[in-house]
């Protein structure tokens, strides 16, 4: 069988793996964005009883490897009576990890907005929620976007680790194809190119977004 034929036969497996990788990444990025913004806001404005546990979780999660976090959620979940299934456990672990990064990015982005803005918003009588949504967050967005997009590509790369708890994503699909064909190098290179294409298109998209949001020059 020619190399091209082997590659063509492997395409359906690689494609379904790619779909799973994109699903895991998109779900994790989405959950992490929501949770991370909440964590970040809690770190900035929350009362001490809320700030302290969030700070602890963020620091601990950022202090352990993603792989350990994935194993932790995957194995400890069922033992603690929380039977998630491997897909949900992996997405939860990846989301939690990214959420903690997003929390720190949010904190940094909001801190970069001049405090006069908050005071001015308070002076014209906006409520706390209005001050955040209409004044602080829109201005923090342009500081938030560049590191956040970096974080998204990190999540896509981190999603390869879910293959280690048996989810057939692109990484495991490649491993399985290699197991059938005994052609490691070509398929690792094909996999590498696919990951580069995903992440490269993400970072080009981010440059457009950044240009769109860079309305304040400093």
């Amino acid at each position: 069988m020619s190399s091209l034929e082997i590659l063509l036969r492997a395409l359906p497996s690689l494609w379904s793996g790619l779909v799973v990788t994109l699903e895991v990444s998109a779900l994790s990025v989405g959950c992490a964005l929501v949770a991370g913004l909440l964590f970040g806001t809690a770190l900035l404005y929350g009362p001490l009883p809320l700030r302290l546990p969030v700070r602890t979780v963020v620091d601990v999660v950022r202090g352990i490897p993603v792989l350990v976090l994935i194993f932790f959620v995957y194995y400890v979940g069922p033992a603690a009576g929380l039977d998630l299934g491997s897909f949900a456990a992996a997405v939860l672990a990846l989301s939690l990890f990214s959420a903690c990064q997003v929390a720190e990015i949010t904190r940094g982005a909001v801190a970069s907005v001049h405090h006069g803005q908050m005071e001015a918003a308070r002076a014209i009588g906006l409520t706390f929620r209005q001050r955040l949504l209409w004044v602080i967050f829109p201005q923090a967005t342009r500081r938030f976007l560049p590191p956040w997009i970096n974080g998204v590509t990190d999540t896509v790369k981190g999603s390869a680790l879910v293959s280690l708890v048996g989810i057939v994503d692109l990484m495991l699909a490649i491993q399985q194809v290699i197991g059938r064909t005994y052609r490691p190098m070509p398929f690792y290179i094909v996999g590498a190119i696919i990951y580069i294409l995903i992440n490269y298109s993400l970072s080009s998209a981010s440059r457009h977004l950044e240009a769109r949001f860079a309305y304040v020059r400093d």
């Binding site: 352990i64 350990v68 932790f72 009576g81 690792y188 580069i196």
Partner: protein, 220 residues
């Protein structure tokens, strides 16, 4: 929750965790040394070289930064020996992979640092008659080091955490030790209760030590 904690089995096999942590640190030190040298050399080449030098370096950085480390680890350990006649151990293979991966990140860190050295300092070096290598060694690199240290510290801690991926090649580092105990004793909650602080504390100790170093270097 119906779960009876039993830490006894963990302590019985604790040597796998302590030995694992030691190996994680050894892997980190080796990879940090190689990655720093390679990253610095490529950054200097990128800053002082022409387009013909820059293009391949930029290509290397873009490629490596967009590929999952796990894929690279597999590629180097299983892929390369399948096409060329080379044999190496899992440890060697992992150190090489981790170094190549982090060198790509460090090129960017060092490059930004080299470009951030004020032009006036280099001109002053030229004015007092330093040669180009002297300007690099006595002016540009020391000032750069002070600028890049904070991001360098963060990169080194990330590198330490990424040594956990060596467990997929059965390198007996900390995560592998945890997996081994988990597979052999089924005390899964206990083992992660012990391993989590081992990673967190070691990571923060590395960060703290590098922060002390930063403060010593700071201009007073």
């Amino acid at each position: 929750m119906h779960y009876n904690f039993n830490f006894g089995l963990i302590w019985q096999h604790f040597d796998r965790l302590s030995g694992g942590l030691l190996l994680s640190l050894e892997l980190s030190v080796a990879a940090i040394l190689i990655a720093t040298l390679l990253g610095l050399a490529l950054a200097i080449a990128h800053v002082s070289g022409g387009a013909r030098v820059r293009a391949p370096i930029a290509f290397y950085v873009e490629c490596i930064r967009n590929i999952p480390l796990l894929l690279l680890v597999y590629l180097v350990f299983y892929g390369i020996p399948s096409i060329v006649n080379l044999q190496y151990s899992a440890v060697t293979s992992f150190i090489v992979t981790l170094s190549l991966y982090y060198a790509a990140y460090l090129v960017e860190v060092f490059r930004a640092g080299l470009l951030a050295v004020p032009r006036g300092l280099l001109d002053a070096g030229r004015a007092i008659g330093l040669t180009a290598p002297q300007r690099l060694g006595y002016v540009r690199l020391p000032v750069m080091l002070r600028i890049v240290l904070p991001s360098l510290s963060n990169t080194f801690v990330s590198l330490f955490k990424d040594t956990s991926i060596a467990s997929v090649l059965a390198v007996p580092e900390l995560t592998y030790g945890a997996q081994w105990i988990n597979n052999n004793t089924f005390r899964v909650i206990e083992v992660y209760i012990i391993v989590t602080p081992m990673y967190v504390v070691t990571g923060y100790v590395i960060l703290w030590a590098l922060r002390q170093f930063e403060r010593r270097l700071a201009v007073r």
